[in-house]
Structures are given as structure tokens and as C-alpha cells.
Symmetry: C2
């Protein structure tokens, strides 16, 4: 029989969870299901509160199952963060649409998107950047991060009327990155109480862009 009893886990699953529950003995795509479960749990309970066991319960498999697809807990997290960073990169590029090339508004838009992602996908953000050394030092993650940073460097160069990445461009890029990076952490930690309206945020970011891009 294919779907006999299996009464310990809810049989009728919400359409929401259809993607990550299994149907028979085999799951179908447990790897993807575990990544999705990991994403949800990390977002809900935070990187520290996340456990492989929880992910297994959510996916409806035994606690040993993940190790057929991932070396260990850390690799599960790396896989999930990788997927998140790809989304992050897409969002950054999408944020540029419709803004004329060479305008400082493009830099501001990138900064805003950076902060938005850090807040909305805070679990992923903290996993990638908040952890202690070598917790997620996977070279693929580093490469993905540099790729995203290159987007910023291109825009900075364009704003300065340059067609190559000079040391000065890199310097300003680091400044902008430091800025939005720290701002993301402080906002997520609610250290900046007074930063109320969305418009105030926009002004803040464009002010920063102006200061960093001026000579």
C-alpha cells in the first residue's frame, strides 16, 4: 500500500506545506523540502533556535534522513543561504530598473534593497554575516557575496564617470557597504528607534549616497 496509515504526522496537509511533506516512503524531493523547512524555521526561531530535528518534523521524515542529502547541519544552512543570496542578487538588479544609468539614485536604490532584504530575511542575513568566524565560510558563499558587491562597484564607477573599477571606486564601495551593512544590523536590533516612516529612510539613504559619492 502506498499511503497506508502513518498516523503520527498530520495526514491532511495544508497546501502551504504540500511542497515539503512527503507522500509515501520516498519523499520526492527531500533536499528541496528540507531547504524550504530550514528557511522557514530559521526565519521563525532564528539561526540559534534552529534544529535539524525541527526541520525533519516539518518535512515529515525521520531525524536521520537529512544526512543522505547533506553532510551535516552546517551544509543544510549553507544550501539555504545560497538560495537566499541568489534571490537577494535578483532583487538588487530589479531595484535598478527604470533609473537612468549613472544616477546616484541607482546607488541609493541598491542600498535600500540591501537593507530591505536584511530586515525581511533577517535569519539568512544573520546567518551569513552575524555568525562567528568560519561558521559559514563556504567559498561558494563568499563568491556569491563578491558577485553582489560587484553590482555596487559598477554603479559607483558610473556615478563618478569612470568605466573601470579604480581603487577610489573600491574605497567608496566599501564605505557604502559598511554603511548599509551596519544600518541593517542596527535597524534589525531596533537600536534606531526614531527611524520611523519609509520616506525618512529614503532620505537617510540618499543623503549617505551623496556624501560618499561627492569628492
Amino acid at each position: 500500500m502506498k499511503t497506508g496509515k502513518k498516523s503520527q504526522t498530520l495526514e491532511v496537509v495544508a497546501p502551504d506545506e504540500a511542497a515539503l511533506r512527503k507522500s509515501g516512503y520516498h519523499h520526492g524531493d527531500l533536499r528541496a523540502g528540507l531547504i524550504e523547512a530550514t528557511r522557514r524555521l530559521v526565519e521563525e526561531k532564528g539561526p540559534d533556535g534552529f534544529s535539524v530535528s525541527d526541520a525533519c518534523r516539518l518535512a515529515g521524515v525521520s531525524t536521520a534522513a537529512p544526512y543522505k542529502h547533506f553532510k551535516d547541519k552546517n551544509e543544510m544552512l549553507v544550501a539555504m543561504v545560497m538560495e537566499g543570496m541568489a534571490r537577494h542578487r535578483d532583487n538588487m538588479l530589479a531595484a535598478l530598473e527604470g533609473i537612468p544609468k549613472g544616477s546616484p539614485d541607482r546607488v541609493t536604490a541598491l542600498g535600500k534593497e540591501y537593507v530591505t532584504f536584511a530586515l525581511e530575511e533577517n535569519g539568512i542575513f544573520r546567518l551569513k554575516f552575524g555568525g562567528y568566524t568560519d561558521r559559514l565560510e563556504d567559498p561558494r558563499l563568499q563568491a556569491a557575496g563578491e558577485q553582489t558587491f560587484d553590482i555596487v562597484l559598477d554603479e559607483v564607477a558610473a556615478c563618478l564617470g569612470l568605466d573601470e573599477i579604480t581603487p577610489d571606486v573600491r574605497r567608496r564601495g566599501f564605505m557604502l557597504w559598511s554603511f548599509v551593512h551596519g544600518l541593517s544590523f542596527l535597524l534589525a536590533d531596533k537600536k534606531l528607534a526614531a527611524m520611523g516612516g519609509d520616506g525618512e529612510m529614503d532620505l537617510f539613504l540618499s543623503d549617505i549616497s551623496r556624501r560618499v559619492l561627492s569628492d
Copy 2:
């Protein structure tokens, strides 16, 4: 018998560890010993790698002993971070010595000290800021953080020739904080490879101060 056998823990302790090992049945000041052990272990293995059991081994007591002094693991970490932040604050104030009041160099010096602390006591820094929401949301920690931020605000106001903390001063203070905060994370994560010499760092920070303090 008072000091009969007890052969499981090294009896002859290094002078280094004298402060946190016990002598007899009673430790003397286990609370302080555990805080010191926690500090060393967090710095060595990172916030995630830290375990109460390790701290107990280092302090030479049983794994149940800490719970006579701390509610749980989190409170041990809070106590340790509190002590670190007091040190941090002292360092900030010390960094101002000898620099004329009202000079932007004072702001730069504060920024440098901030980054220095974040790198040298990286475990504490990540515990306080890197963790997920509400991991260390103790009100005492928040209060200590605001106290330190006030130091920065005073200096910003002085640079602008103001004698009160206006919204503009606060805005610029947030900018500076975001900057050094993000810079600290990126440096700790080694994302900024090219930031080589110490002098280059100084130039970078003073450049940032100038940009934020200009109108």
C-alpha cells in the same frame, strides 16, 4: 579530610588559571571565575562553540555549579558581555584624551576604538550584535549601549558647534554608528581584503568623519 584526593582535575594550576580554579570544596568566587572562563571560551571558540560544560571544566567545578549563580546559560553570557561593555566604554573615553574638544579627530578616535574593540573582543561584539533578535535583549545591555552612544553624540554636537543633541546631531550620530558598525563586521569577516596598513585604516575613518560632519 579537606583536600584528600580529587585527582581528576589538575591539582597544580598555572598562575594564569589561578584566578578561576577553586582550592577546596568552595571556590571562593565562582561567579567571577565563571565569567572569566566564559569570556576566554567565547573568544576562543566563538559564541556558538561555547558551552556551559566547558566553562565548568575550566573553572574546575561540576556542571551543576553555575546554576547557583546564574539562571541559565544566557545569563552567564549577559553577565560576561556586561563586563565587556564597561571596558569598551572606558576605552572609548580613554581614546579621547589629549585631543582638543570640538575637533573631528575626536569622532575619528571614537570610531577607531569602536572597530578595535569589535575586532579584539570579537566574541563579545558578535554576542551583543550578531545574534538573532532577543538572544541578548537584556535591558541592562541596551542601557549600557545607549550610554556609549551618548559619548558619540556629545562629540558630534561639539564638532558642529552645538551644545545640545538636536535631531540633526542624532541623525549624523546614527550615520557614524552605522558606518563603524558595518565596518567592524566586514573587517571581522575579512570581506575587506585590501584594508592593509593601520595608517590606511586611519585615513578611511577620518574620511568618513569628514563626510558625515560636513554639511
